[in-house]
């Protein structure tokens, strides 16, 4: 980042993918080739995407740092900036302020089993970590993914799913909420499917992201399976503006989600004042 933390880098959208009716993915490259080459980040860090004249919003960089051809952001339509982003196409210019925030503890997770539990757009932060671990496969033991969406049409990252479901070095379970014609995978709510899968907590870290209600019941399921608070990692969403700990938007007590987060262990979450 430049010495002015508010100044975005200009970037070009090189590719877009309509993931689901409400989620669109943007692959972007910084216009300055040197800065693109020098750009580095850790899985889990976020960026602010700008549409100049409309505004800025926070999204996780969901491509992994091991694949630096472009930076990928997946955007769910939620309001003004996200709607405008959805109208952009390859060749359009955006602003990028990244990387911001903390990251998943990839070093501490070495030598462990990892269970990913993602729901809806919550798969975005997991994607960066999952691809990173697959690219450094030797460093991690068993990798399990449980990804759920409302319906088959709501599943993002379909271009990854073929690989994930057929790979021998990971286990992938997909689930949707209700039966749908032609669906070959599981049907059922994520926490229930997770209990059925019954992953062992031994030497394992669980990483979960999704809508608040899904997180709530997934946490309960993980605890039931014997996972301890510090074996569970999640990311928090708060309304953000500056992204660098100044504007005062995103605090929970003394913690600022934009710098102390978005990644927290469940043990850390329990230490925070009750204001999620």
């Amino acid at each position: 980042m430049t010495s002015n933390p508010y100044l975005p880098e200009i970037a070009t959208v090189v590719e877009t993918i309509q993931e689901t009716p409400t989620i669109k993915t943007f692959r972007v490259k910084l216009n300055n080739p040197e800065r693109m080459k020098a750009f580095s980040f850790q899985p889990g860090q976020v960026g602010q995407l700008s549409v100049f004249g409309v505004g800025e919003s926070t999204f996780v960089i969901n491509s992994p740092p091991t694949r630096m051809d472009y930076l990928q952001f997946s955007v769910m339509m939620a309001g003004e900036v996200t709607s405008r982003l959805h109208s952009l196409n390859a060749g359009d210019q955006v602003g990028v302020r990244a990387p911001l925030g903390n990251a998943f503890p990839v070093e501490a997770m070495k030598g462990k089993n990892v269970v990913f539990v993602g729901g809806g757009i919550g798969m975005a932060p997991l994607r960066t970590l999952l691809l990173y671990m697959l690219d450094k496969r030797k460093d991690y033991k068993n990798i399990t993914l449980l990804y759920g969406a409302r319906s088959p049409e709501d599943m993002a990252f379909r271009y990854d799913l073929d690989d994930w479901t057929t790979r021998k070095d990971m286990t992938t379970v997909l689930t949707i909420d209700r039966e749908s014609p032609g669906w070959q995978h599981k049907v059922g709510l994520i926490p229930n499917v997770l209990l059925e899968m019954n992953p062992s907590p031994k030497n394992t870290v669980a990483v979960t992201c999704g809508p608040p209600i899904m997180i709530k019941f997934t946490l309960q399921a993980l605890l039931k399976l014997g996972f301890k608070d510090d074996q569970i990692i999640t990311t928090l969403e708060k309304r953000m503006k500056c992204g660098v700990g100044i504007c005062g938007r995103c605090n929970i007590g003394t913690k600022y989600v934009c710098v102390d987060g978005p990644v927290f262990t469940y043990a850390q979450l329990k230490e925070l004042p009750n204001e999620l």
Binding site: N4, I10, V54, G95, R239, I246, G248, T254, N274
Partner: protein, 354 residues
């Protein structure tokens, strides 16, 4: 060593005019019954006898400022291709803020720890901070709402000021506080004031005594956290609040901001504006979820930030300078002193046994 100079009362405006020759000087003036800071011009009549209604916060942190300008440029070869150019817009102007009270000057030290911190610096704030000097007027007549002595300050606190003036019989004692302040004392209008120092110290002591006994908020950081889930307490202390936000806009230590874009045709700008944590929208998320849905949650955050979270992060420093404006100008008479005091003195109400 501080130099002590004396300025005769009838030379005050002359000195201000002299300072205004080479820079912008902001002085308190009456505008529709309110005292506000405005640039000094020839016929300006500054008002020093009372605390300004609006602090000089905007001198360094404007209510709205441009963070950058941008231009969309069409590619003449291919009109479908549009590039963006971004221009940084930092434009500090050498400024003296003249005649603010010590609490208002000290208020910026609360900003400094956040806007000019170890990890991140705000270049817009920093540029203005560095180009602005504070010539402060020690307070000789504290008001009912004042409580600077609760938060480690006093009516003659020099912290955050560059020059401190003390009103005396027939004139002012003028003391430099900072190195940059010393440079302002070269004026020929100032004479030796060393004989008046004792009188000034007595005036300082008298003003402090007029505030009455101080109450120490030392326990507030821990006690406020202890009361975090005591929503009955927060509902009670916020019952009168109407979420108008006057307390945050008039506060010299409130520093939260919003960022929005404006665009007209091919040009536009990104603007930062003061924000207000008492409003429902402040933390409203895209999903519709709001972590602070009621005024009780929001007032808890405002008081908690100033007297608990901020001190926890910044070595005990309280994010309130005790200026009393949020008390004086609250249309519902919410009193932050009472909330902090109650938070410490009242036991946490335990949820009833089931």
């Amino acid at each position: 060593m501080m130099a002590a100079k004396f300025l005769p009362a009838d030379k005050l405006n002359e000195w201000i005019a002299e300072l205004a020759e080479s820079r912008r000087v902001l002085v308190p003036v009456t505008e529709q019954n309110a005292v506000v800071f405005r640039p000094y011009a020839k016929d300006t009549e500054p008002v020093f006898g009372r605390q300004a209604n609006v602090p000089p916060k905007a001198s360094i942190f404007p209510a709205s400022e441009r963070l950058m300008a941008f231009t969309y440029v069409k590619n003449p070869e291919d009109l479908g291709q549009v590039a963006v150019e971004v221009q940084e817009t930092i434009e500090p102007e050498p400024t003296v803020v003249f005649g603010a009270r010590p609490c208002d000057a000290r208020g910026f030290t609360v900003f400094d720890r956040v806007y000019d911190g170890k990890k991140v610096q705000d270049p817009y704030y920093k540029a203005r901070r560095e180009s602005t000097l504070f010539v402060t007027m020690a307070c000789d007549d504290p008001e009912n709402a004042c409580f600077c002595h609760w938060v480690g300050s006093s009516p003659s606190d020099p912290e955050g000021s560059d020059v401190l003036l003390t009103p005396l019989e027939g004139g002012f004692l003028v003391e430099d506080v900072s190195k940059r302040g010393k440079e302002l004392l070269s004026s020929k209008l100032l004479s030796d004031g060393s004989k008046k120092v004792k009188e000034a110290r007595a005036a300082h002591a008298a003003a402090l005594a007029a505030l009455g006994e101080a109450w120490s908020p030392a326990e507030a950081p821990a006690k406020l956290i202890e009361k975090f889930d005591d929503m009955g307490f927060w509902e009670q202390v916020s019952a009168k609040c109407i979420s108008c936000g006057a307390c945050t806009y008039l506060c010299p230590t409130c520093y939260c901001f919003n960022v929005t874009d404006e665009r007209k045709g091919m040009r536009g700008e990104r603007i930062r504006t003061w924000d207000n944590c008492m409003s429902f929208q402040f933390t409203l998320e895209a999903s519709g979820h709001n972590p602070r849905p009621t005024k009780a949650h929001r007032l808890k955050n405002r008081v908690g930030h100033k007297f608990s979270y901020y001190p926890d992060i910044h070595g005990g420093a309280i994010a309130c300078c005790g200026c009393g404006r949020c008390i004086k100008f609250c249309p519902a008479s919410v009193d932050i002193r009472e909330i902090v005091r109650l938070s410490v003195e009242r036991p946490v109400s335990k949820p009833e046994k089931q």
